[in-house]
């Protein structure tokens, strides 16, 4: 059962990322409405998922690479520092920067937007406790490259699948059922929740 928890948390974080409007479903819905095509909604989800997966994969690759030479405790503290720094930045300057991808963007632009949004928000860093837990049980040694690569690939795949599923479900619900009016009432402050999630992740990395 203990082996299952990291995988569940990867999927859970995927759902959390997927439900956040800023991670993509809102863009997919907007493009579909603009081009008057529900097909565009579903097509848009693919580059959004690809961009998100790439952002996660880059972060995991960097940490696994470092993990082969640095002990796990140091790696966790380094990741925690990064995450808490990012959370602090978000708390104070969260609205300052935007990814300049417009409403006329093509699928490549959408993938780039998704990659930059996920990277900028620290989506990959948020997965570190789960992935590091999977890669190594003994914190006194470094990450064995041979076993951690397939684990990391599986982590990216599971997380992305969960993100895509939730993104698609929300987009479907908005387009087919709820309508855009829901943005006015149900769009709770995900920036705040996201910042708190980053803080929680940083704290977990330090104490666990």
């Amino acid at each position: 059962m203990t082996d299952l928890w990291p995988w569940l948390s990867l999927a859970g974080l995927g759902a959390f990322h997927g439900i956040n409007p800023a991670m993509g479903w809102l863009f997919a819905v907007a493009l579909g409405l603009h081009r008057q095509s529900s097909r565009i909604v579903w097509l848009s989800l693919l580059p959004i998922a690809a961009g998100h997966a790439a952002a996660i994969a880059v972060v995991l690759a960097v940490f696994v690479a470092f993990g082969t030479v640095v002990d796990l405790r140091s790696l966790k503290l380094f990741a925690a520092a990064l995450i808490l720094g990012l959370a602090g930045y978000y708390a104070f300057y969260g609205h300052r920067h935007r990814v300049r991808v417009g409403m006329r963007t093509g699928m490549a632009g959408l993938a780039l937007w998704s990659f930059l949004m996920a990277t900028g928000h620290g989506a990959g860093l948020m997965l570190m406790p789960a992935v590091l837990g999977l890669c190594l049980a003994d914190p006194s040694t470094t990450i064995p490259l041979g076993s951690s690569l397939p684990i990391s690939v599986a982590a990216v795949a599971l997380h992305t699948a969960a993100t895509l599923a939730v993104t698609a479900a929300v987009a479907f619900a908005i387009v087919e059922w709820l309508g855009l009016g829901v943005l006015r009432t149900a769009w709770i402050n995900f920036d705040l929740i996201w910042t708190l999630a980053l803080v929680a992740t940083g704290v977990i990395l330090v104490v666990v």
Partner: protein, 464 residues
């Protein structure tokens, strides 16, 4: 401070915004043309059920004199719901009020008591010059990257004018907006098609050609603005210039379609050197380019030279002087202010390339001096100028002053300020609300009107 839910005055689409609750108060910029007393933002009661309906019920004075408050706007609006720039948990709360003459920027908090707004920050012209290299602040729009402010001149009062950005939370000046200005030099108005990643800007002139009034030699030499500029809104890059032609002078107010899927809009040209007519042009997408077409021409009216100001005597005609236009939220009706003749004209622009006149009222005017049922003196001066439409399109408000130095060129006996309201018929047609006439207090002249919670020239939308 960020909120938990989106600001209730934000709407994803213009269709939804049109269903917003009715406004109960209007904020009106008022300035002292003599620059002796502070300008002010006045609060006008526009709730017909209120005992103080049609009265000024509050006012916030500026801390200095001589600002010439002109156009102003909100710190945040419906564009905060856009998918590529989402930040809907900021409040539509602060009015951003620039001084056109002083280049000073005032941030006014309307929240604790909407009828008694208060100034919370004044941004000094030196800070704007230092961080953005601009002066003569003109128009405010809330948009994807924060608050956009345009300026008619650089820090030294010369061309080019342009746009700079302000943070919508901290109100810090972030810097010049343009990355590549191309051939653009003059500035007047700006707005955008969010759905087409396009900004449009128009042209007036440099301060030396308007701060002491319009200069006849500059006008007759076609040296005032006559061009439209199209920009990539995200890359901040000039992409196309359209010259309306030598005879067309003072290409002013820009009103893009509210529906973000539509790629057209309207611009008013104040005067033609050929025959003093005014015109409305539609810009539209033509293949990979933008194109324009003149769709309305409003002719000058012959008049007795004895009744005309010196600037028009030789022409023996009143120029219509279209100085402001506004487009209803459903993109159906365009309102056109003819500050010279005194007409406010309503056009059905359902077909944007073939407008049809559907309503007209006359008030003030250089020659006609038409009155209002509730006015006491029987002959009004000034004419329809800054016009604003309620989000549901049922009510239209306007004031009668253009600009301190230009008012006496066309109304030499002075302008007594007023603000009126029109009621709009279900299928067009306009008439005065006989119970609404603000006889503006002496010493100030009213200019732009902003409505509580947004209006038809304050917000832009990302969803159709």
């Amino acid at each position: 401070m960020a909120t938990w839910r989106p600001d209730p005055s934000f709407y994803p689409s213009p269709r939804m915004a049109a269903k917003a609750p009715k406004e109960t108060i209007a904020y009106v910029a008022a300035f002292d043309p003599d620059r002796q007393r502070p300008d002010a933002i006045a609060v006008v009661d526009v709730d017909p059920t209120s005992a103080s309906y049609s009265q000024i019920v509050g006012q916030v004075d500026m801390p200095n004199v001589g600002d010439e408050l002109h156009h102003f706007g909100w710190n945040a609006c419906s564009s905060c719901l856009c998918p590529n720039a989402p930040h809907p948990h900021v409040e539509r709360r602060y009015l951003v009020v620039p001084g056109l003459r002083s280049s000073r920027l005032h941030i006014i908090d309307t929240k604790p008591d909407p009828k008694n707004p208060r100034i919370i920050r004044v941004i000094d012209p030196a800070e704007i010059a230092e961080k953005a290299n601009y002066s003569r602040l003109h128009t405010i729009h809330c948009g994807p990257e924060g608050i956009y402010v345009n300026a008619l001149a650089d820090r030294d009062g010369n061309a080019p004018g342009g746009i700079f950005l302000i943070d919508h939370d901290s109100f810090d000046v972030l810097g010049q907006w343009e990355m590549d200005r191309g051939p653009q030099k003059l500035a007047y108005d700006f707005w955008w098609h969010l759905g087409h990643d396009t900004m449009i800007t128009s042209e007036w002139g440099t301060p030396e050609t308007f701060e002491n009034g319009l200069v006849p030699e500059v006008l007759l030499g076609s040296k005032y603005g006559r061009r439209l500029h199209f920009w990539d809104l995200n890359k901040r890059k000039h992409v196309q210039e359209i010259d309306l032609g030598e005879e067309h002078q003072l290409v002013f107010e820009l009103r893009p379609a509210h529906d973000p899927t539509k790629a057209y809009g309207f611009v008013g040209c104040v005067i033609s050197l050929k025959d003093l007519s005014a015109s409305i042009w539609t810009w539209y997408r033509d293949g990979n380019q933008w194109a324009v077409k003149k769709v309305i021409e409003i002719p000058a009216e012959p008049a007795d030279p004895d009744l005309l100001p010196p600037v028009l005597k030789g022409f023996k005609a009143v120029a219509p002087l279209v100085t402001d236009i506004d487009l209803s939220m459903d993109d159906r009706f365009l309102y056109v202010s003819c500050w010279g003749t005194g007409d406010m004209i309503q056009y059905d622009v359902s077909d944007p390339l073939a407008p049809k006149e559907t309503g007209r009222v006359r008030i003030g005017g250089i020659v006609s001096r038409a009155t209002h049922p509730k006015a006491s003196n029987g002959a009004l001066n000034g004419g329809p100028q800054m016009v604003e439409i309620s989000r549901d399109g049922k009510r239209v408000y306007f004031t009668n002053s253009l600009y301190g130095a230009i008012d006496p060129q066309f109304y030499p006996d002075g302008i007594d300020g007023w603000m009126v309201k029109l009621d709009v018929g279900d299928n067009g047609g306009i008439s005065f609300d006989e119970n609404f006439f603000v006889n503006w207090p002496k010493g100030h002249r009213p200019h732009q009107v902003r409505l509580e919670g947004g209006d038809c020239s304050s917000d832009s939308y990302c969803y159709p």
